[in-house]
Amino acid sequence: MQGIIIAGALIAGVGLFIGIFLGIAGKKFEIEVDEKEEKILSLLPGNNCGGCGYPGCAGLAAAIAKGLEPCNKCPVGGNPVGQAIGDIMGVFVADQKRMTAFVKCSGNCEKAGNNYVYYGKLDCNFAFKVPGQGAKGCDYGCLGYGNCTKVCEFDAIHVIDGIAVVDKDNCMACGKCVNACPFHLIELVPYDAKHIVHCSSKDFGKKVNEVCSEGCIGCKICEKNCPSGAITVTDNLAHIDQEKCNQCGICAEKCPKHAIL
């Protein structure tokens, strides 16, 4: 009986001592957490997607609270979250255009052929390293093994008919797929952009014609016809400056390969 009492008393004593000790230590080593930081964190989406460049939402919240980052830095939350954070920080936040990811390739199974049959691991980074950068005839085209699909946290990019296609409504423009694509095919464009060159091939026209029925051949017809001077052709590939584009649609009409949407 005595043993039980001693054991109980000792454990209770140790527990009591630790409790008091930790309580005092907790007060003594208390760190003041910025009130703003907690409020900002509660406003952020909380997916910890890393689209802002910080490891998680907490990292961005701390940076905004310290004034190191603009209030609308979170690409997922967009304008509403930016405005709400602006209210907390007491600064005016200008509207930011909603962006969306876009895969600059249209060479699906029907339009672009394969050079050989690939039996390796179904992963873009692996297929990218085999000769000809994957089985696809075009050296620049989407292989469709879906590395972008794997990194997307918003279920917004899928491989359809052999190439990756972005679901604009789900896309939050976090930019993860942009980094995941070994071909750098994915670009962030304004949500309301109507005309985008959906090809990334820098090959000459002849080679493009051989491997894909819808690739940009660098003929410069669009560049000559664009009334606002938004299109430039470099390395046999047209590029539309969405800032200058007035969405007239002439380029899409004139393109002989229908490579502009």
């Binding site: 454990i11 140790v14 208390e30 760190i31």
Partner: protein, 191 residues
């Protein structure tokens, strides 16, 4: 000097905590996916185990042994280690921010790791003095770090291998761990 060598070498390699005593298997399997995280975990374990061995052997020597209460060491050690890690975490967060960031989430994770407790109890049972206990703690943890980093290296290598569906995930990891344990058996004649 000879005892010190035997204790350190024995703790780190011959009686490797994971591969021959099978303690601390949960973090060994859980956080060994990448070498970087494995190294973080290893560092945190070294830190905590050294401190825990030191404090527990002091408590054992000056409180439990004089009062003939050695049979209570398990429960007292658990309480003390948990509280110690909590306290160290608070202290680091306030005063040594860089170390706190480096150890990160691993510090609270290993509060009640069985390896930490196991070594504290083993120190008490073997009757090591305070210096030897601390050394034993440090080098046992170093052995843990060695094992988990090798494991992470193996896992990074076999990640993209083409092996049957039924072996994917933890199954292949456990087999690799078993093979590592067999390999580490080769050290058993060393001391």
């Amino acid at each position: 000097m000879k005892t010190v060598l035997v204790v350190t070498l024995g703790a780190a390699i011959v009686n490797n905590v994971v591969l021959s005593q099978f303690l601390g298997l949960c973090p060994f399997l859980g956080v060994s996916k990448k070498i970087k995280t494995a190294a973080g975990m290893g560092g945190a374990v070294i830190f905590v185990m050294t401190l825990a061995s030191l404090v527990c052997s002091i408590i054992d020597k000056f409180i439990l042994k004089p009062a003939n209460l050695e049979y209570l060491n398990t429960i007292v050690f658990i309480l003390v280690i948990a509280a110690l890690v909590q306290f160290v975490e608070m202290f680091l967060k306030k005063n040594v921010k860089s170390l706190y960031n480096a150890l990160g989430v691993y510090l609270p994770l290993i509060t009640t790791n069985c390896a930490v407790l196991g070594i504290a109890i083993k120190n008490a049972q073997t009757g090591y003095n305070i210096l030897l206990s601390t050394l034993n703690g440090t080098f046992t943890a170093a052995g843990f770090a060695i094992a988990i980093i090798i494991m992470a290296g193996i896992r990074e290598k076999i990640e993209y291998n083409d092996y049957p569906e039924s072996f994917k995930g933890q199954a292949s990891v456990l087999i690799a761990a078993g093979l590592m344990a067999i390999a580490f058996f080769g050290f058993s004649g060393l001391i």
